[in-house]
């Protein structure tokens, strides 16, 4: 890490290299990319998340499922600290990345977190006044990247990573909103990928798309998870079963059950899980 990084993240580092550090503790938590500990979240006085404890494995896709209002979107928005951007919204707890930075520590600037944790939204939201190229490079340019060749490379990489490159490579200067819904969503994925995130959050990424576009996105998740850690929220259980390695089931703000996807769907441990999976409610 550069000295600037250490400067303002000092207090957030659980085990800064200069201190004694508990090696065993460190090794254990480094097995997880994102470790959520005792997370509560509120909208005003209404509590949306109750004591969530969840460890996300790296280089895998984790799905969060549950009926409407269970808090899955709130949870995902806490992961990149977008939750508190809603007026009146608060959160308390710890979310630890790579075992060494608690993003909820008071010294951490929420803006910085979003560079390591990217997000894709339910409804594609490319910038309408920008071209495809400018959309993808938006985050880079914001962050001070000026080297034109570097930007070109990264745009190409990101569009390839989003499985959109072949479709748009000759039309990079066309407006981003000229694309179809599914393409726009992949454009937003490319835009997020350009930031070189380590974690990609996806909030119901296919619910606004048609089945063909949806399946393209699902294929994408399969490929991306080899490089990134992906956490997706979905209300489509079948999609969760298709796409994820681990699944977390939430209900009314609580984490009910979490485990490998095959286990959750075939042999759920909790009755509530079983009832949701078999469609008895939600």
């Amino acid at each position: 890490m550069t000295s600037e990084n250490e400067g303002f993240l000092d207090g957030a580092l659980l085990n800064p290299s200069s201190k004694k550090g508990n090696d065993l503790h460190l090794k254990q938590e480094q097995r997880y990319k994102v470790s959520i500990k005792n997370l509560d979240a509120w909208f005003g006085t209404k509590q949306a998340l109750k004591n969530i404890n969840l460890d996300i494995k790296p280089n895998a896709a984790t799905a969060i499922i549950g009926p409407s209002g269970c808090g899955k979107t709130t949870l995902i928005r806490c992961l990149n600290r977008m939750h508190e951007m809603t007026p009146g919204a608060t959160a308390k707890g710890h979310i630890i990345i790579d075992g060494d930075i608690d993003i909820y520590h008071k010294s951490v600037d929420p803006v910085i977190i979003k560079r390591r944790i990217g997000m894709v939204f339910q409804k594609p939201n490319p910038f309408p006044t920008m071209s495809i190229y400018d959309n993808v490079s938006a985050g880079l340019k914001l962050n001070g990247v000026k080297d034109k060749r570097l930007i070109k490379d990264v745009v190409k990489e990101s569009l390839e990573g989003a499985a959109l490159w072949d479709e748009v490579k000759d039309e990079l200067d066309k407006p981003g909103i000229g694309l179809s819904g599914g393409q726009q969503q992949r454009l937003c994925i490319a835009r997020a990928l350009a930031m070189q995130p380590e974690v990609l959050l996806m909030d119901e990424p296919t619910s606004a798309l048609d089945p063909i576009a949806s399946s393209k996105i699902e294929e994408l998740v399969h490929v991306l998870k080899k490089e990134l850690t992906i956490i997706t929220v979905t209300h489509n259980m079948l999609q969760a079963a298709r796409v994820s390695d681990y699944t977390a089931f939430m209900y009314l703000g609580e984490l009910i059950e979490y485990g490998p996807t095959s286990q959750i769907f075939k042999t759920p441990q909790k009755e509530l899980t079983e009832r949701y999976i078999s469609g008895k409610f939600g």
């Binding site: 550069t2 600037e4 600037d109 803006v111 560079r115 962050n143």
Partner: protein, 306 residues
């Protein structure tokens, strides 16, 4: 292999660059936020100063004499008062409202209830109403002069009220139409299902529930025309006499303030501030009443859009 190296090389480069620029960007954000605050201050400070000066300079000038006496000879010891201006303002505004409010309300009702679509006539009416809103008030004064003063041969209350009503009507039209649009259709349908004639439904049912919004519109329009000076210059002319007839000149507060401010005497200036205080109290009370009325209905009307 080479491509992977390049990709991770790019990734490292980018992460480095991002880190390097963080504090500069945070600084920029802070600077812009500070500028925005400066902007807000740039609006608040003049307002504060205006109110302060008017109250400070005007309060000392408010006397019984000011409010009840006509102006004395210029520069004389008995400086008199601005009573004719106060009277004149009330009369001209009253007359303008008498002309403008009904026309405005009827047009608003027409647009909302009887021709709500995009037909040629209603669109034209709306368009022209909008255009009227944008006309400079001095031009409206010229129209009043040409239409009334020239034809009747004298400056008059009538000409002034006519000009002010031209300003007033588009405001009332727009607000009436908007208010009526908010009234839920179910109320109209209830009336229709009872077999009541349309004009009765409109007048007794719909208008009744839109009453406060419409009154708000009128109050807003009045507060706007109360402060208008330019259209009065060439219509009522201004005088130091009290009201005599609708076809004679009359004085009004904005005009009187202008004339007093143009005189070289301190006593005149002082009277001017006093008149300004009275004027601003009237206008502010009207606008304030507006706010109270609209807040209760949750209906947004803005003085600045007028």
């Amino acid at each position: 292999m080479h491509e992977n190296e390049q990709i991770s090389g790019n990734r490292r480069k980018i992460q480095d660059i991002m880190l390097r620029h963080s504090s500069k960007r945070r600084l920029m954000d802070k600077i812009v936020s500070a500028l925005a605050v400066v902007g807000v201050l740039a609006a608040i400070i003049p307002l504060g100063s205006i109110l302060l000066e008017v109250i400070k300079n005007g309060a000392s000038a408010i006397t019984i004499e000011l409010v009840t006496q006509p102006p004395g000879a210029m520069g004389s010891a008995t400086s008199g008062g601005i009573a004719p201006a106060i009277q004149g303002t009330l009369i001209v505004i009253g007359l303008a409202t008498l002309i403008g409010a009904p026309v405005g309300i009827l047009t608003g009702i027409f647009l909302s209830e009887f021709a709500p679509g995009n037909g040629l006539f209603p669109s034209a009416v709306r368009l022209f109403s909008d255009v009227l809103t944008g006309l400079p008030s001095v031009v409206i004064g010229i129209v009043g002069y040409l239409t009334i003063v020239l034809t009747t041969g004298s400056f008059s209350v009538l000409a002034g009220a006519f000009s002010l009503s031209i300003i007033m009507i588009p405001i009332v039209v727009r607000i009436t139409e908007e208010t009526l649009k908010i009234v839920p259709n179910s109320i109209r349908e209830a009336g229709q299902s009872l077999g009541i004639a349309k004009w009765k439904i409109t007048l007794f049912i719909v208008l009744k529930s839109a009453k406060s919004g419409v009154i708000t519109g009128i109050v807003l329009a009045i507060s706007r025309i109360a402060g208008e000076t330019a259209p009065l210059i060439m219509t009522i002319l201004g005088t130091s006499l009290f009201f005599s007839s609708f076809t004679n000149p009359v004085d009004a507060l904005p005009l009187r303030i202008w004339r007093l401010a143009s005189q070289p005497y301190d006593s005149a200036h002082s009277q001017g501030w006093g008149a300004a205080l009275i004027l601003i109290i009237v206008v502010m009370i009207l606008s304030m009443a507006l706010r109270l009325l609209t807040q209760r209905k949750g209906f947004k009307v803005k003085a600045s859009h007028v």
